[in-house]
Structure formats: C-alpha cells, structure tokens
C-alpha cells in the first residue's frame, strides 16, 4: 500500500518562450516561499553572475578606459579616484583590464563547458542505454581521463595544441567531458530500469524515441547543476592556464595573465595589480558555485516536506 510519493516541483521544459518564462517565474515565486538558505545562496550567486555578465556585455558602462591603452595614467599608481584599481606596469588602468578581462574568461569558460556538455552528455546517454562492450570501452576511456588531475591534463592539452582562444577552450573542455559522461551514464542506467521506460517500449516507441523523450528529460535536471559548477571550475582552470602563460595572445586582457604579471611586482609593494584580478576570479567562480549548489539543494526532493 503506498501513498502518493513526494516529488520535487521541477518545471517542465516547454517549447514556447512565453510559457517557459511564465513557468520559470511561477517556479521562482513558489520556491521563494519554500526554501531558506539554499534559495539565498542561489540568488547571491545569480547576482554576481549577472553583474559580471553585464560587465561583459556593456563594458562601456563600467569604465571609459581602454584596457590596452598604455597611456591611461602613471606607471603603477595606487588606487585613486581616477583609477579605482590603480594602474599597472604598462600604465594601463587595472579596473579597465578587469572589466574587459571578464569577456575573455567568461567566454572561454562558457564555451568550454558547452563543448564538454555537448560531447559528454550524448556519450553518457548512449553508453548507459546501450550497455555491452561499447559501454565498457567508453567507460574505461572516460575513467582514465577522469583520473587525471584536471589542471595537469589541461596544461598538457594546452601545451600540445598551442596558444589561441579556441585551443584553450578545447583544452579546458576535455577535462570536464568525463564528468558529464559519468553523471549522465549513471542516471541513464537507473532510469533505464524504470517502469515508464518499459511502458514506452510497450507502446511501440523505438530506442531513439525512448532515449530522447523518456530518458533524457529525466536526466537533464541534474545536468543543469553540474553545468554551473563546471563553469566555476573552468574559470579557475582557464585562469590557471593563462597564469602559467599557456594561452592567450598578449593583446587580450586576461585576469590570469594579469595575475602572473602582478606577482612580479608584488615584492615592491604594488599589491593592486595582483589583488583585484585575483579577487575577481574568486568572486566569479564563487558566484557559479553558489548558483550550482543552491540549485542542487533546491532540486533535491525534500523528505520532510511534501
């Protein structure tokens, strides 16, 4: 004898933007009443992200300086009303470099996460669903890649591929493919055993349809959480790569590179060149982490409440 099982209120994917927006708004207002800490953590993360995204989209709103302008001010001047974050050794405005640097790092992180997901998710679905030798071989490969420390792998790939935005993106992407693969494969394996999958076979659905309409939509919720955490990690990895110098052409403002530049001048008391880019990296990564963790808690079925 069973009672109605509790289920999380996950909004469904709809194909009309208006419908999707309406359901998202509805979900937000309902969630707000339900949840405490996790909700605010998620919101905090979102705020940070939106702030940085706005910086990316409308840099002109934030600074009038050009990040590559080597005549912006004096050399290595302290933070002042004129230069909120001071200037660096090439007389460039640090705040401008921070604002424009957001584009680079966010762009690479997003793109890398997207590539990882686009490769890892379908592979995970197929592997979990098909099983057999294909699954075993693929799992083996993925596990091997996964067991590599992420940063080392990224460095290896970056070194192999050489400099350039696309290459860096690929190098970062490779590291996370196994994460999506493992997650999706695990979910697929358990969903495969659900009665509604058997029911789908009974109504005559072919395997592709089952995968696409029955398995995938039930897997996607957890993927969203991983995506956010993935981006957080990708940000750190990209910063690390450019910190070591493996990466982007000099013309592109980049936080990681500024970090490494700032390190050189730190002993002479110039703290603002390294601190501000460092803080931004941390803030952005934290923002995505909070979004991901908050979302994970919220999407988790709560046993105490209905």
């Amino acid at each position: 004898m069973s009672t109605q099982p509790s289920r999380p209120h996950i909004p469904a994917a709809r194909f009309s933007p208006a419908g999707g927006l309406a359901s998202a708004v509805g979900w937000f207002s309902r969630s707000r009443k339900k949840y405490g800490m996790e909700w605010w953590i998620m919101i905090a993360g979102l705020v940070v992200i939106l702030f940085v995204v706005t910086m990316t989209a409308f840099p002109g709103l934030f600074t009038r300086f050009n990040p590559n302008d080597q005549n912006a001010g004096g050399q290595m001047t302290r933070p002042s009303p004129a230069h909120v974050m001071g200037t660096d050794n090439l007389n460039r405005d640090v705040w401008a470099r921070v604002v424009y640097g957001a584009r680079t790092i966010l762009g690479v992180a997003f793109a890398a996460a997207l590539v990882s997901a686009l490769i890892g998710i379908p592979l995970g679905l197929l592997s979990g669903f098909a099983g057999g030798v294909f699954d075993r071989v693929l799992s083996l490969i993925m596990d091997s890649v996964y067991s590599f420390p992420g940063l080392i792998l990224a460095i290896a790939f970056a070194a192999m591929l050489g400099p350039g935005v696309i290459n860096i993106t690929l190098a970062v992407a490779v590291v996370y493919i196994p994460t999506y693969f493992r997650l999706v494969r695990g979910q697929t394996l358990s969903i495969k055993e659900e009665v509604y999958v058997e029911a789908a076979r009974a109504i005559g659905a072919r395997r592709g349809t089952i995968l696409g309409r029955y398995v995938f939509p039930n897997v996607i919720a957890t993927v969203v959480v991983v995506l956010s955490l993935n981006i957080a990690d990708a940000i750190l990895t990209e910063a690390a790569l450019s910190y070591i110098g493996l990466g982007l052409p000099a013309g592109l403002p980049d936080w990681g590179m500024d970090l490494s530049m700032g390190k050189k001048f730190l002993p002479s008391g110039v703290w603002w060149m390294i601190t501000f880019p460092g803080l931004m990296i941390m803030l952005l990564a934290l923002g995505f982490t909070m979004l991901g963790e908050g979302l994970a808690e919220i999407l988790n079925p709560r046993l105490l409440e209905r």
Binding site: M1, S2, Q4, P5, R7, H9, I10, A12, A13, E194, V195, Y196, E198, A199, A200, R201, A202, I203, G204, A205, R206, T209, R213, Y214, P217, N218
Partner: protein, 329 residues
C-alpha cells in the same frame, strides 16, 4: 490446451528461463543455474473474454503477461495472435502489434515519465504510430480522457503526474493504453497499489471500457476476489505452471487442485461471520531456481502421493471446460 479457433491470443508451451550469473564453478556443472519463471504454459483467450491469471509471488504470472506481448523473448514456445505466431513478426508487424495490444502496469506513478504531461503521455502512442494530425490527436485524447473519467479534460491535459491523485494516474495509464484502440489489454496488478475506494473505481471502469470498446483482457492478479469480480475464466499459476484453469463460477465453487483450494481458503473475507479455522499448507513457496521435482506443489500438499514426486502432472479435464494439474480425484 490447444488454441481454439475463436482465440484472439493463445500461448503454447511457453517457457522462460532467466539465466543467473553464477561463479565460474557453475560453468562446469551440466545444468546452468536459472530462474525457471515460466514452465510450459499454455492457454488461449477468446475475443471479448477476460482471462484471469492468479497466483502468488514467483508464480510467473507477470512474466507470462509480458511474454504474451513479446516484451520479453520466450526461451521456447509460441504466442499466436489472430492466427499468426508473433515470434515470426518483423519490425513492421511488431509495430502494429504494439498498437493493437497493450499493457497496464501495477504502479501508475512509475509508469508515467515525470517529465511528460498527461496530454503528452496519452497522445504519444498516436504519434509513434503516425495516427492523425496533432490537432486530431488532441481531440481524440481529450475524448478518451472524458471517457475514462479524467475530467475536466482540457484542464488535466496539461498536468504532470506528480500533480495527480492515485486514481487519476491510473486512469491516465489506462487512457494511454487505450488510445490506439487495441483489441487486447494485459493488466498486471492494475489495482494493487491503489486505495480501496480507487480500486473499485478502476475495476468498474475496466468493466465499462470492455463493453464500450470491445476489449479482451488478461488480468494478472494475486487477489482472487478481484479475479472473481472481473474475469470470465481464471487460471491459477504456481511456480511457473498453470495448475488449474476453469470458468469463473466453476473455479470458485468446484476448485479441484489442492493449491487452488488452499488459496481460496486463505483469502480474507470482509465479513466477521466468515471466520473459520483455515487449513493451510505448511511451508512456503520454494525457489524457482530449484523447484521441487514432479508436481511443484507436492512438498506442501496434504494429499501428496509418491507418484506426485516423480512426474509433472499434465493438465487434464476434470469437468467440461475445467482442467487441473492434479492426478487425484
């Protein structure tokens, strides 16, 4: 039991073994360990009939239901649907079979994908079989929803499984099974997980739909009282074999096989006046991996003879239309 000419579906000598992965030592033993879920089961179902398949756990009734629809492949034996063996079906014919035969599972909540709305779930079979335009499908689904009591249909059309009550979910599952207008429906414990009052509603609905849509059912259940209410004929299964098969009235008044009699004794009756000392078989249902020799029931049967241990008793006619796998009289 040979399939009759008017049979819609019939099974002949169906066998299903589920191999067990054992240790490497098992590889050396002559008989591979397996769960003998279905052990040479034969019966036929006439058009418009409701056949009940009753039994306890391990009886193989659920497996038999799935074999009948070829949701799992039999180890041996045949299933004949409208005169043709479905094992010979190619992809196209199988697709047609999936439209003409359907199954309803025990737990409506796990039978529905949490991410598909009611409307999407019910109309999906139609789109799989390419029936109608999207607008036509929606109309058809709404009509069917009203018919099974999902009202107001347009409102419930957009709901998701977790927003429905138990009774509503089971109706959705029924509607999905009926949307392609099948002839034959396998109902695997359709009410086991429902509340008492919902059970009655679903049973009534099943009866109604049978009349309105000319359906043929195989009702799989562990509850003989349900079988009595809905079925025309009832087959009792024990450890993978049919031990008795008779018309409903005949089975409940003149049960022949000792196991059937034990089952009937054991069913709780909602009436205090029916309290009695029950003569129950000792022991429990043995494992289907190593079933007892001869008649599977002999270790528990109060009337067992030495012969019962030796050979599997065949299903023999003990009264017109009434067969039993017991050698006693």
């Amino acid at each position: 039991m040979p399939p009759s000419a008017a049979a819609l579906v019939s099974a002949t000598d169906l066998v299903k073994d589920f191999p067990l992965r054992g240790t490497i030592f098992d590889a050396f033993s002559p008989a591979r360990r397996a769960v003998h879920a279905v052990d040479r089961v034969s019966f036929s179902i006439g058009e418009g009939e409701v056949l009940g398949l009753a039994g306890e756990s391990g009886s193989g009734k659920s497996t038999t239901g799935r074999l009948l629809l070829r949701l799992i492949e039999p180890t041996s034996g045949s299933v004949v649907y409208r005169g043709t063996d479905i094992r010979s079906y190619g992809a196209r014919e199988m697709e047609h079979l999936r439209a003409k035969t359907q199954i309803v599972f025990q737990d409506p909540n796990s039978s529905l994908s949490p991410r598909m709305s009611v409307g999407q779930a019910i109309s999906h079979p139609l789109s799989i079989h390419g029936i109608g335009t999207p607008a036509e499908r929606r109309e058809r689904v709404l009509d069917l929803m009203e018919k099974v009591g999902l009202s107001p249909a347009p409102f419930l059309y957009r709901k998701y499984p977790h927003q429905l009550s138990g009774g509503q979910s089971q109706r959705v599952v029924l509607a999905r099974a009926l949307v392609t207008q099948p002839d034959f429906l396998v109902a695997d414990e359709p009410i086991a997980m429902a509340d008492v009052s919902v059970r009655a509603l679903v049973l009534q609905l099943m009866r109604q739909l049978k009349q309105d849509m000319g359906l043929t059912y195989l009702l799989i259940t562990h509850d003989l009282a349900t079988a009595k209410y809905l079925c025309d004929r009832v087959a009792v299964m024990y450890l993978g074999r049919i031990v008795e098969l008779a018309s409903r009235d005949e089975l409940f008044t003149h049960a022949h096989h000792p196991y059937t009699k034990a089952l009937l004794e054991a069913v709780p009756v909602p009436d205090p006046k029916a309290r009695r000392d029950k003569k129950l078989p000792h022991g429990e249902i043995p494992s289907a991996i190593n079933p007892p020799s001869g008649c599977h029931y002999h270790p528990r049967c109060p009337f067992a003879l030495a012969r019962c241990r030796e050979a599997r008793p065949p299903l023999r006619e003990v009264a017109p239309g009434h067969v039993s796998a017991c050698i006693l009289d």
